[in-house]
């Protein structure tokens, strides 16, 4: 019986406490700077072209094989504006398979891909869950602007790591 009243006291206590609920769609909890959201492709603003050369290393090391990449000759390289001989032609990430592990970011030699803070990419059909090149650049460039990431000015060489 004492136990019952003790439990009731707990209920009454928390009734008077201020709620901690965050009204989600309107309000958001703060996210950590390291947050692993969906991957996005970064843009080299110095040359105004994608930082990705389509080298396939991310597709090779992806544990779930969710990345499809193809490359093409870089027209800007012929004109001498860019050091990238090859450039990404098509890039797709199947979001329904991606496990957000960040391996693609670790292995990228060109700092061309980053884990953005986008996380509300739910959709109603499977086809919409395939992120096309445009989607990835939209997320990546927006994140780049907000996080202040500058991709090495047309380096096109091996990154630090």
């Amino acid at each position: 019986m004492i136990g019952f009243f003790k439990s009731l006291a707990v209920t009454l206590q928390s009734m008077l406490r201020k709620p901690v609920t965050v009204q989600y769609p309107g309000e958001h909890l703060p996210m950590s700077p390291r947050y692993l959201g969906f991957p996005g492709l970064l843009w080299d603003d110095a040359v105004d072209e994608p930082a990705c050369t389509g080298c396939l290393v991310c597709a090779r090391y992806c544990p779930t094989d969710c990345i499809t990449v193809s490359m093409k000759d870089n027209p800007l390289h012929k004109e001498g504006k860019s050091k990238r001989r090859k450039i990404v032609d098509d890039f797709q990430i199947r979001m329904e398979r991606c496990i957000l592990c960040g391996i693609c970011v670790e292995v990228c030699n060109f700092e061309a891909i980053a884990m953005t803070d986008y996380h509300e990419e739910a959709d109603i059909s499977r086809g919409d869950l395939i992120a096309t090149k445009e989607d990835l650049f939209r997320m990546g460039r927006d994140y780049q602007k907000r996080a202040g990431i500058v991709v090495g000015a047309g380096s096109g060489s091996e990154g630090e790591e």
């Binding site: 019986m1 439990s7 707990v10 950590s32 960040g102 391996i103 670790e106």
Partner: protein
């Protein structure tokens, strides 16, 4: 009138699961019941089988870490730890001290968050409805926020690497953790006060599903379930790994091996984990967080085999690793504590009421991701 003994009665089969809410996942027990008493209990597993061990044979050492995250999905750091320890053992790799401290801190915090989930789910199994669940998840949420600041993910971290950790701790980690520990101390105290000596709770758990120390050893039970039966076996003490031999902490032991003891041992363990994290924070040295190994952790351990084990929140988690000197392991065998603890379920449930089966299963604290692999 016919006497009760002369009545022709037939035992009834009762399916519990795989959709039953108190089986903590997709788990099924076929109970043979005589009235309300359980005569036989046969667990059926495998609904969540993903072939992790086979997948490990085609993924490289960096990718396997993501698979281990998904085994025991409420104690991710502890799983990753055992795998990277096995690979390091094979390579004879010396892990920098700072990395070892980071691992200890995160693994112990993960133990607390896992036990908090147990606390909440166990309360619900008993029938206390929402309050313990809310308490448990409140504390768990705080820990997960810290994890998010460190690793970027709340559950599937993939943060430990062969030879160290992925990245150094973020700025303000020590202050954040100290504040968190103060909150956790209060939280554990509150959880303890709410349930542990509650009359109804005692009625439901004391002398339910009791198992002696010898029986527990025979079943291969480990972790809090074994220690609740009074067997002083903890891998952290018996076979110290990382820097566990430098801390001052106790291993709580139960007496009867019943559900209450299993609950109490876990509550006490949370207190001890807080003590370990406090000491580790004070002792943590500066220095590198990663040993110099192959780029991105794509290592190739030499030909050979090894066994590494560590104390998971659920018990003795072991990995047997065979390498042929390639970038993928030849064989990875996982010894999961939940799987072995589940073996004692029949011994514990037979003779009790149906409602007690739920409590006993809850007190074993199984995670199906690791039972089925």
């Amino acid at each position: 009138m016919v006497a009760e003994a002369d009545l022709q009665t037939v035992d009834m089969l009762l399916n519990m699961g795989p959709q039953h809410p108190s089986t903590h996942g997709v788990f099924r027990i076929v109970l043979t019941i005589d009235g309300e008493r359980i005569v036989d209990a046969e667990p059926h597993i495998g609904y969540l089988h993903r072939g992790t061990e086979k997948l490990c044979e085609r993924e490289n050492y960096r990718q396997i870490i993501t698979l281990f995250d998904r085994l025991d999905y409420v104690a991710n750091f502890n799983n990753e730890l055992v795998f990277v320890m096995a690979a390091e053992k094979l390579m004879g790799l010396e892990v920098p001290e700072r990395a070892q401290f980071i691992r200890v801190i995160l693994a112990e915090l993960n133990r607390i968050s896992s036990h908090m989930l147990f606390y909440g789910a166990f309360g619900t199994d008993i029938g206390v409805l929402a309050t313990p669940f809310m308490y448990g998840f409140r504390e768990r949420e705080r820990i997960q926020q810290l994890f998010e600041a460190v690793t970027g993910a709340r559950m599937m971290h993939s943060y430990f690497r062969v030879g160290g950790v992925a990245d150094d701790l973020p700025d303000g980690f020590t202050a954040h953790t100290r504040a968190l520990l103060d909150e956790l101390k209060r939280g554990v105290q509150e959880c303890d006060r709410l349930l542990t000596y509650n009359e109804i709770f005692l009625e439901r758990t004391v002398n339910v599903g009791a198992i002696t120390g010898e029986e527990a050893i025979d079943f291969g039970v480990s972790g809090p379930v074994l220690r609740a039966s009074g067997v002083p076996m903890d891998v952290r003490v018996a076979e110290p790994y990382l820097v566990y031999d430098r801390f001052d902490y106790e291993i709580p032991l139960g007496k009867n091996g019943d559900c209450w003891d299993r609950f109490w041992v876990r509550i006490e363990e949370m207190r001890q984990s807080i003590a370990i994290v406090e000491q580790a924070l004070a002792m943590m040295p500066e220095g590198p967080f990663q040993a110099p190994v192959a780029k991105f952790g794509f290592v190739r351990p030499p030909r050979g085999d090894t066994y590494a084990r560590a104390e998971n929140p659920r018990g003795d988690f072991g990995v047997y690793l065979v390498s042929q000197g390639e970038n993928t392991p030849y064989r990875v065998k996982i010894r999961g504590p939940s799987f072995c603890n589940l073996m004692a379920l029949k011994r514990m449930t037979v003779g009790h009421y149906i409602a007690d089966a739920v409590v006993i299963l809850g007190s074993l604290d199984i995670v199906l991701g690791e039972v089925d692999r």
